[in-house]
């Protein structure tokens, strides 16, 4: 059963989260033939889990906001390793993309004047996140899905792409298996858009679903694309820590946006103890002012719980390490204290944070309107990704585009909360538009039969080893434990070097894994195939991290705990070498356009 079905499209979109759906919508029309492939059912992609909101300078909740402030906040949050043109386009276009969602049926929470309401989030100077309670991602994906199914593109759900096909240096399509029956499908296409999301599943403790295995990162890497900033992972400060089975599940930053405070075992609000200089002018140094900010007082400065995620996560680690953690190895997140200020605090919490209320009630037996939550850092988001042209989203491989979490550049060394959902639609649209243009200007590429034969063989190899091979779930878990220990939130040179060595052993183990029975919906087989991208991504992370000898954003190097200005001048680039091994180099950051530089400086004051 090595045969396959061939499909032909102008544009092939791989991934049906916010980025992929928006790209498919844009590419369709004008007679362009578009296919959308996803590993899960439509509407189940990671985007559905996003909670807190979508950043856009609508200026509804605070009329002082503008695209330029949003731009400056994004650059500061990213510690200036961002692609400044992407940050500019994102800040300028996000508001239109939010309004467009409303035109397609999204129902955001409202201001008293009847406009789209916006909430506070870390690193954003003004109230900027359009939201629907704490289920904003569901609203976004459902709106795009329900609009998208009437736009004429064809959906292939529960199809997994295992490799990109190449015609010389240009992308020629993708090879996939269908999950329910394991049949093979060859998608020949003039342009391919990767919108495959993140890679949190490289780690043991993560907020990501099983899909977050970094497939797009690995597919692009193997196709020869340049990858940037792979050392930068976002460890979200607040994941659940108890009970063990839910460890890592996200607790939205919206809790802190609504006034939630972080406390150690002594009851101290430890975030007041360490406020970085870059933020001291916008951060309150007392409880009273912090609360006024939450209630919308424009004179007040932000509470320190809303500092950027990398910083908050490290403060939490410090409290835990120094013995002031909670019983199960986290710290306390307290939202019930707002009853000191609000009459119907219980009702307010349930209205603003309904899914957090249910999540804790049902999974941990904790009533957040009365008790504090126990939280700790969880692997959440990858800032690094496929290097793309800011305007068109084309990678360094002709015909191959990328958008959303799998693309790199917008967020630099650290992403601000809410800047992902807006990223998805801003750059999803652009990728769709330019991929369609590319397709109309190019002929159908040629398929290399030899490559296809190699792929089918590799894909079926785990069956040949059968029961004698190692269980793929066990190899996957070993890899996740290794990455958690060697490339986690606090890194050292010695541990990363060990990690790279262990990775070679894990690669060897992966080559011996075997699976039972047949190709029908077989999670063992599917997991065996996920090992390849997981290993490639883990190696990219380790290779990039070990040589950034400073601490910046999502990369904290314990041997070099300070930020180093010299290292702020380059991005890490990973690329597959001619001999098939992974190479790393530094690429100088081009000078920021003078008008944008001016905006940055103005906002530093």
């Amino acid at each position: 059963m090595n045969g396959y079905t061939t499909h032909e499209f102008d544009v092939l979109v791989i991934g049906a989260g916010g980025a992929g759906l928006r790209a498919a919508i844009e590419a369709s029309g004008n007679g362009t033939k578009v296919a959308l492939i996803c590993k899960s059912l439509l509407g189940k992609a990671h985007t559905v889990m996003a909670e807190g909101g979508m950043a856009a300078a609508l200026g509804n909740a605070d009329d002082r906001d503008s695209w330029s402030t949003h731009f400056a906040d994004t650059m500061r949050g990213g510690m200036y390793l961002n692609n400044s043109r992407m940050a500019e386009l994102h800040a300028k276009e996000a508001a239109d993309r939010v309004n467009e969602l409303e035109a397609w049926g999204a129902v955001f929470d409202r201001t008293p004047e009847g406009r789209i309401n916006q909430r506070n989030f870390g690193g954003h100077k003004y109230r900027r996140l359009a939201h629907v309670g704490d289920r904003t991602g569901l609203e976004m994906i459902r709106t795009l899905q329900d609009h998208g199914i009437h736009q004429g593109f064809e959906v292939f759900m529960e199809y997994t792409v295992v490799d990109l096909l190449m015609d010389g240096g240009r992308v020629a399509g993708a090879f996939a298996y269908e999950r329910n029956h394991g049949t093979f499908h060859l998608f020949r296409a003039k342009a391919v858009i990767l919108a495959t999301g993140g890679l949190g599943r490289c780690y043991k403790i993560t907020s990501n679903s099983w899909e977050g295995t970094g497939d797009g990162h690995a597919l692009a890497y193997h196709a020869g694309a340049e990858m940037r900033d792979m050392e930068f992972l976002q460890f979200h400060p607040t994941g659940m820590v108890w009970p063990p089975s839910v460890r890592g599940i996200l607790v939205t930053e919206g809790v802190r946006g609504e006034g939630g405070i972080l406390q150690n075992s002594e009851g101290r609000r430890f975030m007041f103890d360490d406020i970085p200089d870059a933020y001291s002018h916008q951060t309150s140094d007392n409880e009273e002012e912090g609360w006024r900010y939450i209630t919308g007082d424009k004179q007040a400065r932000r509470p320190p719980e809303l500092l950027t995620r990398d910083h908050v996560a490290r403060c939490i680690i410090r409290e835990i390490k120094e013995g002031r953690g909670s019983p199960h190895g986290g710290v306390f997140l307290n939202i019930h204290w707002i009853k000191e200020h609000i009459k119907d605090a219980e009702g307010h919490i349930k209205k603003k944070l309904p899914s957090m209320y249910h999540q804790f009630k049902e999974l941990a037996g904790v009533d957040i309107t009365k008790e504090s939550m126990e939280v700790g850092p969880t692997t959440h988001y990858v800032m690094g990704g496929i290097k793309v042209d800011a305007d068109t989203q084309m990678s360094t491989v002709p015909g191959l585009f990328a958008a959303g979490e799998c693309a790199g550049g917008l967020h630099g060394a650290n992403r601000l909360g809410g800047n992902s959902l807006s990223d998805l639609v801003v750059f999803g649209k652009r990728a769709g538009q330019y991929a369609a243009e590319y397709a109309s200007a190019h002929d159908m590429p040629t398929i290399d039969e030899g490559q296809v034969q190699d792929i089918t063989q590799e894909t079926l190899a785990p069956f040949e080893r059968g029961d004698t091979g190692e269980n793929p779930f066990q190899i996957q878990q070993a890899l996740q434990e290794m990455m958690q220990a060697k490339a986690g939130i606090v890194r050292t040179h010695a541990e990363m070097a060990e990690g790279l060595e262990e990775l070679q052993r894990l690669k060897a183990r992966a080559a011996t894994c075997g699976v039972q029975s047949n190709r029908d919906f077989n999670p063992g087989w599917n997991t065996a195939l996920d090992l390849k991208p997981l290993l490639a991504c883990s190696e990219m992370i380790l290779m990039s991290a070990i040589d950034r000898k400073e601490s910046r954003g999502g990369h904290y190097h314990d041997d070099y705990p300070e930020k180093c200005p010299e290292h702020g001048k380059w991005n890490t680039i990973i690329q597959k070498g001619a001999d098939g091994t992974m190479t790393r180099r530094e690429s100088e950051i081009p000078a920021i356009r003078s008008d944008l530089q001016g905006i940055i400086e103005e906002n530093q004051r």
Binding site: V48, G105, R110, I116, L138, N180, P243, I249, N471, P523
Partner: protein
């Protein structure tokens, strides 16, 4: 640590045999953890659909001890572990393998519903004004995570297999979300009556009982839609009145 036994339906294409797995269980575990544990300990080919493991995506629907539920939100502490816990696939859809069914019917049913069609924007910048109290009704329906548990439990689909004539409670919730959207101008009432079979629903409320999002499917979605059908088709005066009245 204590042990528990899970009796999981295994097989393909509806040909199912229960298989017992005994595993160690830990604090706070949910049924989906147990299934993963069983995969890890040897049954790597045990088919199960899941994504978020946090009750947000609606992928992991199954029948646990005969009740349609999300596997990731069913805590072992809430089950009687002195007996084997049965885990079976949903029954209203064609079976694929083990705990996985073919839910594509739902995607076809949704496509048959006319899409959102907004009125002209209120503001020059192309935006609209809506009050929070005017959107709350619709926001309840938009919480739906498309787990299809309500479809699974509805006798019109489960026992009478009216899949070609009846779109099911999930899609009445979806229709209601569109029909009651303050900006929408489309009319879906004729479709609901004819092609989408709302008349088959005899308000047993089984769907409301199983909804993990606690959407009041029958009271808030289906009954108001049925009233619209009655208004439009059986009450000539209202019908006439509606023709001249702007919608909503």
């Amino acid at each position: 640590m204590s042990k528990a036994t899970f009796r999981i339906s295994r097989g393909s294409g509806g040909d199912l045999t229960p298989a017992d797995y005994e595993i160690e269980i830990g604090e706070g575990m949910v049924v989906l953890d147990a299934v993963h544990q069983i995969q890890y300990e040897g049954a790597s080919d045990l088919a199960v659909r899941w994504n978020c493991k946090a009750g947000k995506c609606g992928s992991c629907s199954a029948e646990i001890n005969g009740m349609p539920r999300l596997m990731c939100m069913t805590r072992l502490e809430d089950l009687d572990l002195s007996q084997p816990v049965t885990v079976e696939p949903m029954r209203a859809f064609p079976h694929v393998r083990d705990l996985v069914t073919d839910v594509s019917f739902n995607y076809r049913a949704k496509k048959s519903i006319k899409p959102f069609k907004p009125r002209k924007p209120d503001n020059a910048d192309g935006t609209w004004n809506m009050k929070q109290e005017d959107v709350e009704r619709v926001q309840e329906f938009r919480k739906c995570i498309e787990c299809f548990l309500c479809q699974d439990v509805c006798h019109v689909l489960r026992d009478h297999h009216k899949h070609e004539e009846f779109i099911g409670p999930r899609h009445f919730v979806y229709s209601a979300a569109l029909e009651m959207h303050p900006l929408d101008t489309e009319d879906r009432v004729a479709d609901l009556k004819k092609a989408q079979g709302i008349g088959y629903c005899n308000i047993t409320k089984c769907c409301t009982v199983v909804c993990p999002e606690h959407i009041k499917i029958t009271d808030n979605a289906i009954i108001p839609l049925k009233e619209r059908v009655v208004d439009e088709f059986y009450d000539p005066l209202t019908k006439l009145f509606r023709m001249f009245k702007p919608k909503k």
